[in-house]
Symmetry: D2
Subunit: 350 residues, 4 copies
């Protein structure tokens, strides 16, 4: 869990916010002697580098394109220090929970979830620069921008450095892949797997777009060009020759690699003077102080992975409940007066 | 409701599937003498032009990029006639419910939801061709492809005709706008307004992408270019000079026009021979018969509007429950022994 | 399903409402060639013996202790014919769904759910008259009041006949048992198994009370008298000597028989003159016509069983999703390139 | 909030567990300068008097009728100290949240929720000893057992003292009333108000029964005796002459006082030797140490009130969202270009 939190924390490199948070997590409940107990797990991550003073201007005026205005519209209050719930600190919980989901998915089904930066501002990683079958966490983590291609990583870092020094910000795109997802996961109508992923990604701060498989670019093809033809592989499995579907067909996984992209806008809080209005409805100028990310995408990588893991974990659980009751038949069908039922339902007992 | 269903039904024009369904809806329960009764409304829409024979080849082999394979993976059964739940007929329910939601939203809050086709295959409607403030339902419905610009509508229809005659298919993009949405609607963390919209749109058949406001293109701008500056308008309201946010900031509406785009891939079922596999795991060739849409986007327009209306209706109800209890104070706080409470809680009584 | 609906239908005997409904069910969707398809199952049960004229008086005045007044308070409308959603006809859907749940529970886990009438008005079936281990459906269905003890059945029928002829009504108690429920089913805090059962039972029309295990009578014992001591049975299982817990401890099943009781008040609609008020707020007298049950409990028996089955089915699915992922390990963890994964995830394929 | 927690805390009197916990609550998030911010409110209540040693015997053997066995069956782990989630400490969260709900209900709708002890072991408070219209919190809190009748309070305390000194335990019944609940609150089918209350009460530790209004005793009456006749009161409201319905008809409140009873079994953990089995499946004897309540009902009073408040709060919010959109019409229907809309949607702004 701490490893994942460290990938998310502020101050991890020169291209993230200079705010220094260790984001050290402490588990207050839910585990006992190294095992989960079935109780909710309480993870506590205190702030260590908070400077309230930075927020004095922002307390008076709404930051353009930031959530503080709409919060005030909705709730009629402002808790401006650190941005309240619209602060990216809110994503600590997502990453902590995602770390557990990733571990269970890996252990139970061999699922591997990896995200990386595929665009920063106008620097676009070419589609063929990364092989979704083989790309590794090591390659992604080999540089501070989290792009598995070293050459493009350099260009992206340079782009961030350029806006960073003048107090401006930029956005980008994170690509996420999930390998070894069993086929059959997902739902056919409202809760399609791609719908759940889309919701999860658009719930991340600063995200403005989601596309799975061929996405928006798929509209440039005809059906005969776009369709993924099926074939039988050597091991006797139904596979597809191409994967424009992105691993899902009609809301349900087909066993191919799931991949999707998420667009993140440039950070709203910038170190440049902007026109805005105050809570008292006066036109004012705002120069935000605080210490903010020049580009959110390197830190968004673990957030995207975590949300993907949480969605897949939920969907896997739902799938097991709905469609995999059969193999449990033996364990469950026997009345209590049978030794096998006792040991199988509570295997740790014996 | 019938008006909306007619916008969705097959056979409405030469560029949709030639299957002739009247999609006549019949309300079986939930209304009495022209009023809803609080009971679930049962809308019954029977099939009238079903030809089971068309599906004989498809019963044996999986259609590439179609949901029938993943359905079989998940449920171990196939109900191939008409595509089962992965048929676009499933969207009738969405459009019927959406018709009600649109009516309530319009009546209670003046909300107007309009969608139109902004891309068909490689024909792209320019951003400045449509004014989101003024575009009307009449303009959208003035042609069979549902693009408010007559010139581009012609080009789009021509593109569809071209693939239609050779049995191929194409996709496109639907843009949706919602005007007069009160500010403060939405949720700050997991259930952000844009997240709910993204889920709703990705739950539509054939959709592969969603972007709100500046979307993926927003990553080409810096924060100082992208931010929407606030100002006070003449009526004393907090407004934004630009609207790259697409009407939402941090999950909550800001009172500006909400707009988003949805990408739809080319229809999977085509009248061209494709390689695939059979349920018995044999490599086979498939030539689908059936009668399918050469391009789904004209019929997707009412689906997108309907899903947007359902999301906004849900969020408006949640907002009222959470944040608008105050004005109800008088109606609810009085004990039963007061005439005003009786009449206000059940206004139809007197 | 029809068998269960016949146990619920009006007009089944002289002690139920004389309204003659065959309650013939027709499945409109969700099955294909005798198998469920994973699609929602649409069961259609039309009314056949509706006499609107019976409701003319009731349309003007509120029936004492009936839902029609509160409906009007809440929704401001009245759909009085047949009682709208507060009619017992609403329970058809519960019984139809419960029939499926009972079948799956029996098939997958050997769970048997049986309910019977244990009190009618002041006729109380003694606790020791029925052996929860051995009582059968045949015994319960051997008489029209659904009490497995023939002697008490006669007394109960006599009690109903007595009020029936003078247009009055009486209530009673239904006892329900569930045998062979695997241990470990349920949830530890808010969604305790007994809590879910209580909600399900109090959602039935006319129910006013629920108790599980020793219930209210358990408050007459001390802890040392009440506690169920554990012992090891011959088959090596942890069992309890007594079962005052009613098969649940702290929200989770312990493998013993689950049993609970539900109190049903006398039917509100009676054929006797009562004082009430009209919608126009005038004090009036009401003599209800309609044809109503003199005692609802014989028909409540399949309703109670059905709701119990739905709760247990839900909880079993939740349990499998949360705690039984382990045995699925092999089926799910293998990547798509393995034959075993393909066949196990979609067993019907080969 | 602290006042309510003090009513629940251990060690408050000689008839509760002698464990000394101050249960001092500390709010870690969700408020700012005395106002809630819309963010989840984190209430932290640390343990101060925990003696792990007390639990050494219990760690080896299952306590009869306690949740520790079923927890182990379900999760395969034991976290025995303090009982884990099956400890009554879990109810701190319910009481803290309930304190807020009670405050909002009182403020917005004048709702008053009061619970009191109406039975301890075989000491039964007569029905006519308490007037539901006038009973006060002061009367209830005037003695340590929380029975508003001083004479019966003495008898109840004596009964508890008697079992306390010999290490045994007893249970009882808590009655709860809610005054001034607006009519129209609740739902007509599955989520009836009484169903939600039943679930909430059966989710409390040690509860075994729930009855609303006439409850089980109502089955001793005929319909003509049981029905609550309507009349018009002097203020022009529809009222009922009697209240055997307990304030609900068909799942929806009718404006009369809501009242219900909850049965609590004797505390499972007792200071007497009992037969049981160990985790290793050996028959053993257990003499629990720990410090446990001789009778849980005095401390259950605030728990029952809190759960009732949470249910009513939820249902009131749902009612507002579903049925009270009308009065919000003016506030919400105006487009953003109107001053009234701005100020009404965010009243704290101006």
């Amino acid at each position: 869990m701490q490893v994942e939190l460290d990938r998310r924390r502020p101050g991890q490199s020169r291209i993230t916010t200079p705010r220094k948070e260790t984001d050290t997590c402490k588990i207050l409940s839910g585990t006992h002697e190294g095992m989960t107990t079935g109780t909710p797990i309480h993870v506590f991550v205190p702030n260590t580098d908070q400077r309230g003073g930075d927020y004095s201007e922002m307390a008076k005026a709404y930051r353009p394109s930031h959530a503080d205005a709409t919060y005030d519209f909705k709730y009629g209050v402002r808790a401006v220090q650190g941005g309240g719930r619209s602060s990216a600190r809110e994503t600590i919980g997502r990453v902590a929970a995602g770390a557990l989901a990733k571990k269970i998915l890996k252990l139970k089904s061999g699922v591997e979830i990896l995200a990386f930066v595929s665009k920063v501002y106008q620097v676009v990683l070419p589609e063929d620069a990364v092989d979704y079958e083989t790309v590794t966490m090591e390659q992604i983590e080999s540089n501070i921008v989290r792009c598995p291609d070293p050459e493009y990583a350099e260009k992206m870092i340079a782009a961030i450095d350029k806006v960073r020094v003048r107090g401006d910000s930029i956005g980008g795109v994170v690509t996420c892949i999930a390998r070894n997802v069993p086929r059959g996961i997902g739902s056919p109508v409202f809760d399609k797997l791609e719908a759940e992923l889309a919701k999860a990604m658009l719930s991340l701060p600063a995200s403005k777009g989601f596309e799975i498989g061929s996405g928006f670019a798929g509209t440039d093809l005809t059906g005969s060009e776009h369709n993924d033809e099926f074939y039988m592989d050597e091991a006797g499995n139904v596979r597809t020759q191409t994967n424009r579907s992105g691993g899902v067909q009609g809301g349900i996984s087909n066993g191919e690699i799931i991949y999707f992209k998420v667009a993140f806008k440039p950070t709203a809080t910038i170190g440049k003077k902007q026109n805005t209005v105050s809570r008292e409805h006066q036109d004012v100028e705002l120069l935000a102080r605080g210490r903010h990310d020049p580009c959110v995408v390197p830190r968004a990588v673990p957030m995207v992975e975590s949300m993907a893991a949480l969605v897949l974990m939920d969907q896997l659980m739902a799938h097991i409940a709905q469609c995999e009751m059969f193999p449990l038949n033996l364990a469950l069908q026997e009345p209590i007066g049978s030794a096998s039922s006792a040991s199988e339902l509570a295997p740790n007992l014996s």
